[in-house]
Each structure stands twice: as C-alpha cells, then as structure tokens.
C-alpha cells in the first residue's frame, strides 16, 4: 500500500472501472432480477406477475428442462474435448523435439475465426446431401452405411454442435496447459522414470499434481465459456431438430427476441446466473478436495 494515498485518489482510480463494470454487468443482473417478476412484450405496459414466471419455468416448461439437460451435455462434451484434448496434445508436444512452435500456431488457428464463419463451415462438414466432409471420409474408409445427416438426427445433433465449440478453443487451453507442463521440473520426472514408474504413474503422481492450480483455472475458464455457449448452436441448428440442440442461452434469446417475452426471458437469465455460480462452486469443491486428499 502506498503511504501517501488519499481517499480521493483511491476513488479516482476505482470509480471509472467500477462504473463501467456496474453499468455493463452488475446493473443488468439486477434488472434481470427485476424484469423477471413482470410480463412484458416491449410495446405494451408492463404487468407485475410475482413469481409466476419462475413457477411456469420450473414446473410447467418442458422446453426449459430439455434445454437445461442439453446445456449440461454441451458443457460435458466441450470440457472433454477442450481439456482432454488440450492435455493430450500438450503432453505429446512436450515429447516432440522439433516443430513445437509450428504446431502451437497451427493448433491455435481456429480460435481466430468468427463463429459465423465456423457455423457456415460446419454446416458443410456435417451435410449429407450434398455429401459433406465427414460423410465423405466415412465413405472413403468403407463406412458408407453409417453416413448420416448429423445435424438432423436428434441423437447426434447435440454432439455435432458441441464439437465445433470444442474444436475452436482446444488450442487455447492446450497452450495454457503446455506452459504449465513445461514448468514441471524435469528432475522429478526423470527420477520417477528411473525408479521404474510407468508413464501413466509419472503423469498422475508427478505432473498432474504439479499443474493442478493451472488445471483448476483452466477448468473454470472452460466451464464458464461452455456455459456461455450460444453462437454455434444458434447459427448451426437454431436449437433443432425439435429442441434437441436448444441450450438455455439460445432458449433465453428466442424467448426475449423472437417471442418478445422479456419478463420470462429474464427469469431464465436469473436461473443461468445461479447455474453458473453453482457450477464454479462445484469445480472448486471437487478440485480443492482432491488436492487436500
């Protein structure tokens, strides 16, 4: 702490960022809470409905629960792809002798492409008629009979919309984990190997505990990012077929901006806020406890 700070100077530095943050983030959260007790279509007067939006949402809205389930599935697939993929590639990368920089760059490339472009791209990748990339590869390796309209089948569509999201950011998480892995002291691992520990043991008992703090951060980042998932399902399938790829975020968006039911959409928003706080709480609980054990 600076000895010569004054109350005023603290305020001068603190107020501008806090004001922006308040206007852009905190105020809207409060407003959502407020709006969620009203029925409002944007052009007619607002009417107070008490907890009715919440009651409908939690007890009577099957789409809402479907979307909630889908969101969990979406997050799970994204996490497996992003964290699992990132960990594997980062580990492989540490074994590589040459070309690490090139691989890192290429691997990160998808992150710079806008989601609209990615949606256009994957529409063609998954397509059946005309035959898209995946179906062509399947035909090429003799699996023509499993060719599929991946975005039309209710059982594959959720995975199909999650994969692009996972794909696009694996590179980012890989970089983070790779940097952490490099920081693991080589002596520790060498020693373990010489003691006859298998690769898996070395990994699990030496490397992983070492990178655990980074792993927690990465998990939180990936989870909150996946919970924010919106663009790709919205653009690729618009939640369909049926509600098979509807997420809470896309459902909230449609309720607000297609059905112009701003009150109900706000109730969904409030639920999403709570869901995210709970998710982050759970991550800390699980990963911290493991660290203590």
């Amino acid at each position: 702490m600076l000895p010569q700070r004054s109350r005023l100077s603290v305020l001068i530095f603190l107020i501008p960022p806090l004001a922006l943050y308040g206007i852009a983030v905190l105020l809207p959260i409060f407003q959502s809470l407020f709006l969620s007790f009203f029925d409002w279509d944007g052009i007619s007067p607002m009417t107070f409905v008490g907890a009715e939006n919440y009651i409908t949402m939690l007890t009577g809205d099957t789409v809402f629960w479907k979307a909630f389930g889908n969101t969990l599935g979406y997050v799970a697939i994204c996490l497996v792809l992003q964290l699992g993929g990132a960990l594997i590639v980062a580990s492989l990368l540490t074994l590589l002798r040459r070309g690490r920089e090139v691989v890192k760059t290429l691997y990160l490339l998808p992150a710079v492409i806008s989601t609209v472009a990615i949606a256009f791209l994957f529409q063609r990748v998954y397509s059946l008629d005309p035959v898209g990339l995946i179906n062509q590869v399947l035909a090429f390796i003799g699996l023509g009979n499993v060719q599929h309209a991946w975005l039309s089948d209710v059982s594959t569509v959720l995975a199909a919309v999650s994969i692009p999201e996972g794909w696009r950011f694996t590179g980012l998480y890989m970089l983070i984990i790779y940097a952490a892995l490099l920081a693991v002291p080589a002596e520790l691992e060498e020693a373990a190997k010489i003691d006859g520990a298998s690769w898996w043991q070395t990994f699990w008992r030496i490397r992983f505990p070492y990178i655990r703090p980074v792993w927690i951060t990465t998990t939180v980042l990936a989870t909150t990012n996946a919970l924010r998932g919106f663009d790709i399902p919205y653009l690729l399938t618009n939640g369909g077929p049926g509600q098979s790829s509807e997420l809470l975020t896309t459902y909230m968006y449609k309720t607000a901006f297609t059905s112009t039911n701003y009150g109900y959409a706000s109730a969904i928003s409030v639920f999403v806020v709570i869901e995210c706080l709970v998710a982050v709480g759970i991550i800390f609980l699980i990963l911290r406890r493991k660290a203590d054990a």
Partner: protein
C-alpha cells in the same frame, strides 16, 4: 465505509434506471392520428428510411431505387435509405426490437402478425385503406394481394409490393421413370412418394433449415378441408388440432414422414441445397413460389432437365371447401407507414412511388400486385414463364395464409420445432397434437386479446 456509500450509490442508480424503464417504455408516445393522411405543412425533402426484408438485387429494391432517384431529381435533398435484412428471422427480431425501442423508421416491412396488429392498435401505423384510396390507387390492386395483408378484422395497414403464386414444380422425366401421375388429391401424395422412393428418386426437395417451407405443408390440408378460417380460430385457441380437421391434417403430415417424402436429413438442408437437388434432377418435386421463376423457368436451368420441368398447383381433397384455383398466393411481406414520422414529404413520395411502381416493377419480369400492368417476359424465359404469369389472373378469392404469419411467435417457434420431429418420426401424431394444443392454448389467447 467508502465502499458502502459507493454501493448505495450504485443501488440508487440501478433503482432509478429501473423506474425509468418501467415508466418510459411501452406507452404510446403521442403518435399522430393514423387516419390523418393529409398532414398540413410544406414538402421538405430529406432522407427517409425504409427498413425492409427483401433480396438486395431483387425486383422490389431495384424498382424502388430507380423511383427514388427519379423523385430526387425534382426534389433535391430527398433520398431513400433502404436498409435490407433479407434473412427473415433476423429481420423480424430487428424490427420488433426497434419497435420496442420506439425507433422505427418512416417505412418498415411487416407481415400481418399479432405483433403488427398490436402496433396498429396503438396507432403506430398509417391506415393503408385510407392512404391508398386517397392516392387513387386502391382499385388497381388485386383483391387477393390486399387480402393477404389484412388483419383478421379486415383492416389494412400494409401495402403489398409483390404478387406470388406458390406451385409444386416437378420433373416430368422422373415422374415417368417412377410411373407416377400428378397427384389430384393431397391424399395421393404419400403414395406418390413411396413410388418415387422405390425408384431411387428423392420425392420432394425441402428446405427444412428455414422452417417456413415445412410449415406450409402443415397449412395445406386444413385449408382444403376447412378453408382459410381454420387457422384464424386455431391461433386464438378457439379451434384445436385435436378436432377432426386438425387430426386429419396431422395424420396426413405423419404419412408424408413415413412415406419418406422429403430427402434424408431435410431438417438440416438449406434453401440453396434443396433447390439444387431439384434443378440437378435428383429430386422430383419442389414446392416454391414464382419468385424463383428466374431460376426455374429460364435458360439458367441446366439444358438436360430444362424441358422436363413443369408445375402443378396445390391438390384438393375429397370434400374440399376451397377450389383448385385457390392456394398460397402471397403478396409478400407488406410495407407499413410509420404514423409518428408521417408528414407531407412521406405522403408526396408515396403518392409518386406507388403510382410509378407497377410499371417499373413489371418490367423486371415480376408479377405486380396491381392489375393495371403486364409483366415483361425476359428474353431467356422458357414457355413455362408465360404460363406461370398468366396463371395469376385465374387465382380464386380465398388464399391459403402461411401459418408463420398467423400464429403468435411462441406457438409458431414451437410448431416449427415439433413439425420436424413429427416428420422425422420422433413424435407420434397424438403427442404432436397434445403438445401443440397445449402451447397454443397457453400463448394464443394472450396474444390476440
């Protein structure tokens, strides 16, 4: 203590903002009288904007640009700013949010939706009957074109700029190959599909991604068996899909699904892919309107199949209450005139533009919403073009309204989703009916209060 004061300040601001929100939004902000089509004052040229949802290089925009340029010559300082969002769902969202923000421009496109009706009731749109009559052009319009724009109570707030007929285009060679005839009844279609499938042909190409094409199929059967009034009572919750009309329609749709009428993976097929499937000779039938005449009835078509293309109109059913010459004949999304910004200039420009428009538009090869001009057939047209254009003069009085312009948005979104599931065989007809009756029962009556 510092932060507590700070937080108190933030909370006060928040409360204040909320208060403002509560009071400010939604009220009718002193709009002008929507029937006062003769505003007083001078014509002061300025830029006026038209928020629209039409293809950027299409006939309407081309014609209106030309007309605006002509008008600007005599009225220096005038310009028409065309803001087009062709993608319809994005457009609707944009226009509804602008309306909520009370920031609609002078002219804006809308279908006769429940949302538009609310705007009309709040006096935010000019009365189009009064306007067109005053300009002396009302009687030039095809009655069907005006009727398409009307709200349920018969009032008219939107001006049509197009007139389209929706046909079932088909490939004669593929029909012959599979040994099928043009269906005379809607009930013939499933059998037709089965035969085409058996011959290894995609029966019907469908753009499932954009939802509205499939929703058309939902509207066909009730239009034949119960007439155009059915959807008007259904959307308010007065009629149910569980009654005989609705059940018959849903069962028919379900048989379309089981007969494999649409290509595999139709729900993720886009507009261009569906059309390509038909124009490349893969699919036998394609249901689309005359706005595609340029692609389907000109030499742009692959010579190999050009002469095999023909069309038939919506088949009837046994005991059909509507005639064979009555089907979907939309006059496109209509243009509404914002009453808040309506002034002598807007009136003068509309007077000039609406009188000039039919001739300019018909010259582009399109069907005018009026009857006082004849369409110029393009030089590269096939004989089908002329036939399709002439067909417009034989259209009956009743028109099959697309359901996406009729239902409230929540029911509409849900219907589109459930239709895909029904056609894919994921839900049974009775589940479909009970789901949709529930959703419409909950949202419809509220929307049409």
């Amino acid at each position: 203590m510092k932060h507590r004061k700070l937080f108190a300040a933030a909370a006060t601001t928040a409360a204040l903002a909320l208060l403002l929100t509560g009071c400010g939004a939604g009220g009718s902000s002193g709009s002008a009288d929507p029937t006062n089509i003769h505003p007083t004052g001078d014509i002061k040229p300025r830029e006026i904007s038209w928020l629209l949802s039409r293809p950027a290089d299409g006939g309407v925009i081309t014609a209106m640009k030309q007309i605006a340029d002509e008008y600007a010559k005599d009225h220096p300082g005038f310009s028409l700013n065309l803001i087009s969002t062709p993608d319809r769902p994005s457009y609707i969202q944009k226009y509804e949010t602008l309306a909520a923000a009370n920031q609609l421009p002078e002219l804006f496109d809308t279908d006769a939706t429940p949302f538009a009706q609310k705007l009309a009731k709040q006096g935010k749109m000019m009365d189009a009957t009064a306007l067109l009559k005053d300009l002396g052009v009302y009687d030039d319009y095809r009655p069907a074109a005006l009727n398409y724009q009307r709200f349920d109570d018969g009032s008219l707030y939107m001006v049509p700029f197009e007139f389209q007929l929706e046909f079932f285009w088909y490939n004669k060679a593929l029909f012959q190959q599979a040994g099928v005839q043009i269906p005379t009844s809607l009930d013939d279609i499933p059998a037709m599909c089965t035969k085409l499938r058996a011959a290894g042909i995609t029966p019907i190409a469908l753009d499932g991604q954009d939802q509205w094409p499939l929703e058309r199929y939902m509207s066909y059967y009730p239009f034949r068996t119960a007439g155009p009034d059915y959807i008007q009572s259904l959307k308010k919750g007065d009629a149910k899909l569980s009654d005989s009309t609705g059940t018959a329609a849903v069962n028919w749709l379900s048989t379309l699904g089981t007969a494999g009428c649409f290509q595999d993976g139709f729900s993720s097929t886009g507009y261009s892919d569906a059309q390509a499937s038909f124009t490349s000779g893969k699919a036998a039938v394609y249901n689309i309107g005359t706005w595609e005449l340029g692609s389907l009835a000109t030499d742009k078509l692959d010579p190999a199949i050009r002469d095999n293309i023909d069309y038939f109109t919506l088949p009837v059913t046994k005991g059909s209450v509507t005639d064979a010459n009555e089907y979907v004949s939309p006059s496109g999304i209509g243009m509404a005139v914002n009453s808040k910004t309506y002034d002598p200039l807007v009136r003068d420009f509309l007077s000039f533009a609406l009188k000039r428009y039919p001739a300019v538009y018909a010259a582009t090869g399109a069907l005018s919403p009026t009857t006082n001009v004849s369409t110029t057939i393009p030089a590269n047209a096939t004989p089908l073009y002329q036939r399709a254009v002439d067909q417009a003069n034989t259209v009956g009085d009743k028109t099959a309204m697309p359901w996406d312009t009729q239902l409230d948005p929540t029911s509409n979104t849900r219907l589109q989703q459930e239709l895909t599931l029904l056609l894919q065989g994921e839900t049974k007809p009775d589940e479909f009916i009970s789901t949709m009756d529930g959703v419409i029962g909950e949202n419809g009556p509220k929307a049409f209060k």
